[in-house]
């Protein structure tokens, strides 16, 4: 692996960490709230957060995949 490639890999790894870590917090707490509450509107809100976070995760995955392919 060239030095440039190694630097690029390290940057992408740092970006992946910085983007996915906050998504982990959103997904994690939303799942815990959805699982632990019996209040329908709160469950629905938590479900909506999970759906939105899943879309965000997919977008980040696509961006990182494309960046690594270049």
């Amino acid at each position: 692996m060239s030095e440039d490639q190694a630097i690029s890999d390290e940057i992408l790894s740092a970006v992946a960490h910085d983007l996915r870590t906050p998504i982990s917090v959103i997904v994690g707490y939303a799942e815990l709230i959805e699982r632990r509450t019996e209040e329908p509107k709160t469950r629905e809100a938590a479900g909506n957060i999970l759906e939105a976070a899943d879309r965000l995760r997919s977008a980040v995955d696509r961006l990182l995949r494309d960046a690594r392919a270049q």
Partner: protein, 128 residues
């Protein structure tokens, strides 16, 4: 019989808090370390049965901590959590003895299932 220790190792305070909230206070006692050096000090004092280990941390990396833990305590179970689940990282973690390799974002329910599967029989008895 004493309760086993489960140690959370992550430099991100919010992730540590999430992991703490995910794991029930039953059957085991939770420990927290905010970096690799602290994790190894706590491991020496308490010998945890299970470690939840972040891979990318400032200072000692997850790779270094996993290697040291498995050399010193071969029976310790380790769940590696990483936001960069590239195949080469997984291969390296598994070659160093990681029991589970989990990508962030992770499902708390899935993580809890892994914790209960990996903990020694005695703790499962206490949980049930």
């Amino acid at each position: 019989m004493s309760r086993p220790y489960v140690m959370i190792v992550d430099d991100d305070e919010v992730i540590r808090s999430l992991l703490h909230s995910t794991l029930p206070d039953e059957g085991y006692d939770l420990l927290e370390a905010e970096n690799g050096e602290q994790a190894l000090e706590i491991a020496d004092a308490r010998e945890p049965a299970l470690v939840l280990l972040d891979w990318r941390m400032p200072g000692s990396s997850g790779e270094e901590v996993l290697s040291a833990l498995k050399q010193q305590y071969p029976d310790v179970a380790v769940i590696v959590l990483t936001a960069d689940p590239e195949e080469k990282v997984r291969t390296l973690a598994e070659s160093l003895g990681a029991d589970v390799f989990m990508a962030k974002p992770f499902s708390p329910l899935q993580l809890l299932g892994c914790v209960e599967r990996l903990l020694p029989e005695r703790s499962l008895d206490e949980v049930s």
